[in-house]
Amino acid sequence: MKQFKQLVHNEIMKIFRRTATKIMFLLLLTVVIISGLVFRFMIMDNTVDDAAAGENGVSINIAAENDELSPGEQRQLEEQLLLQQYYEAEGVEPLTAEHVWNFVIANADTLSFITMFTVIIAAGIVAGEHTQGTIKLLLIRPVKRWKILLSKWTATMLFSFTMLIALIAFSWIVGLLFFQFNIGPSRWIEVVQGEIRDWHAGYYALIEYGLNFVSVIIMTTFAFMIGTVFRNTSLAIGLSLVAMFTGGQIVYLLSQYDWIKYVLFANTNLIQYVYNNPMIEGMTMPFSITMLSVYFAVFLAIATITFSKRDVAE
């Protein structure tokens, strides 16, 4: 165990002492700041207008009864009404647009940058040692190869987790600075399948980031496997990002087939279960978690086996 810690320490050192890694953190901060600016000066202005319009509960009521509306619009209006009533009954305020938690929650999409950065690290952590030739001096140590590989995977995950913490911290700080330190009432209230759901905004953010992070882990492990097997960083980055950006689309297009639910990308979006609204009928959270675990285990097994058996000869 002590040895494994030392190995992870080494890999962490090699990740964090690169200039590229420092640039990644700077980029992440930049993205959060830009997102803050956009939020502050564009989106927020709009939502404020919306809120003003919605204030008139009676108009919603009348509009809802108007049968000119499409069923979708009608449902939306009904949900708004439900929310309105809940706010009045409970005496709570909705989370305002300029609230820090609102910004943190809205910023969860920035997680795709973390996926991108972690994929880059994961793709290169083995392949890079091959291209630079450093793999030779690494593998002639009295350490079994699978331990070295596992330490590399662990370090990649720790990097990713550090980025996640950094993202949340950046969002909080930027949120505080841009939105006048508004940390007042913080409840996240939504209508889910016709029912009111009232969560603490922090709890909601945790769930949202946590579930999204699961897909970071799985995509990263995929990149790690490709990089290990083909010893080619660019290939691993390319494949993983293309898969990530098109996978969801393809699954959506083929969603009428039953077998599609066994495809990785049908299962990566766990947040869909929080809304009880899976893309494919009949899929459940436990099913997706099982599928993800299987994919995950297969990816790591393939990487470990090829890495352990390989003749290092470049």
Binding site: Q6, G133, T134, K136, I140, R141, P142, A313
Partner: protein
């Protein structure tokens, strides 16, 4: 004495091609052992198998009595090596590179780390990034990482590559010292014969994946002792005369080379003189260096000479 390294009928097949063919070797503590062969002979492949980068197709390797295949960690804890160029992490400092390898071997103290840095003379530049190092400095750092855990076996693949004559001399003296004073088994490979001659106690000549001979350097050089060059004209006639004494005769540009006991030289000279051949000079044949030996053994393929 138990061998520090033992190879038993080791073969390696890559893509159906036999790269290494049935090599057996025993190398002992305290000796500097040379693997000598032209480029592509299989020196690096042999070393890669010994350090566990490649698996053997058949045969077994023992390091300090430990089977490499079944007892990888124990076997390799006795080995320090540089395989081909010392490729280190260029974005890290020399210091962080060594810290990295320190963490991978149990029991390497910080004192040992400092000692090794001192030993290879990198004190002043150890905190600079490796990408700013010269090739010579990288070689030194490579040596430092190989010595860090005080291995019983030190393996260096073409260690003098890219070093200037002073650097070569330094490393040569240092390796001899390691073998003699610390009883380490040192294995070096090279295609540079003159180097091996000065550095090694024993040499294995390897060609096309096979070991064609293993000998003490002293014996190696002795082989041609009784060869003599005679500057004579006409050489053709001299050749015929010499043949009456020995069959080991060959024609050279300005004379002949014969192989015979020193005592028989006067007889040969008198016969030559009797046959009206002019004899200008007699000296030991030049072909008594390891290099020439090596050229004649391997047929002179792909050999770079200094």
């Amino acid at each position: 004495m138990h061998p520090a390294i033992e190879l038993n009928q080791v073969s390696k097949i890559i893509n159906k091609k036999k790269i290494i063919n049935d090599i057996s070797l025993s190398v002992f503590p305290g000796e500097v052992f040379g693997l000598l062969g032209p480029n592509g002979a299989g020196k690096t492949t042999t070393i890669r198998m010994i350090v566990g980068l490649m698996k053997t197709t058949s045969g077994s390797i023992y390091i300090n009595g430990q089977n490499l295949a079944s007892n990888f960690e124990k076997a390799l804890s006795n080995v320090g090596a540089v395989v081909e160029n010392p490729e280190l992490y260029s974005f890290l400092s020399g210091w962080h590179n060594l810290k990295h390898y320190q963490r991978m071997a149990p029991g390497v103290t910080n004192e040992r780390l400092a000692e090794v840095i001192q030993l290879v003379g990198l004190n002043e530049r150890i905190h600079d990034k490796v990408k700013t190092y010269s090739l010579g400095m990288r070689q030194r750092l490579g040596l430092a990482q190989a010595l860090l855990h005080q291995p019983k076996v030190l393996i260096l693949d073409e260690p003098t590559n890219g070093l200037d004559p002073a650097g070569i001399r330094e490393i040569r003296d240092y390796l001899r010292q390691l073998a003699e004073k610390e009883n380490i088994c040192v294995i070096v490979s090279s295609h540079l014969l003159s180097e091996m001659e000065k550095m090694c106690d024993r040499i294995a000549v390897i060609q096309k994946g096979e070991i064609i001979r293993v000998e003490k350097v002293a014996d190696f050089v002795q082989h041609n002792k009784n060869e003599w060059f005679l500057e004579v004209t006409p050489a053709k006639k001299a050749l015929a005369v010499a043949r009456t004494i020995t069959s080991n005769v060959s024609a050279e540009e300005s004379g002949i080379t014969v192989k015979l006991d020193k005592q028989q030289i006067p007889l040969l000279v008198s016969k030559l003189v009797a046959a009206q051949i002019s004899v200008f000079m007699i000296r030991p044949a030049k072909q008594n260096t390891l290099e020439d030996q090596f050229l004649s053994i391997t047929g002179g393929e792909n050999v770079e000479t200094v």
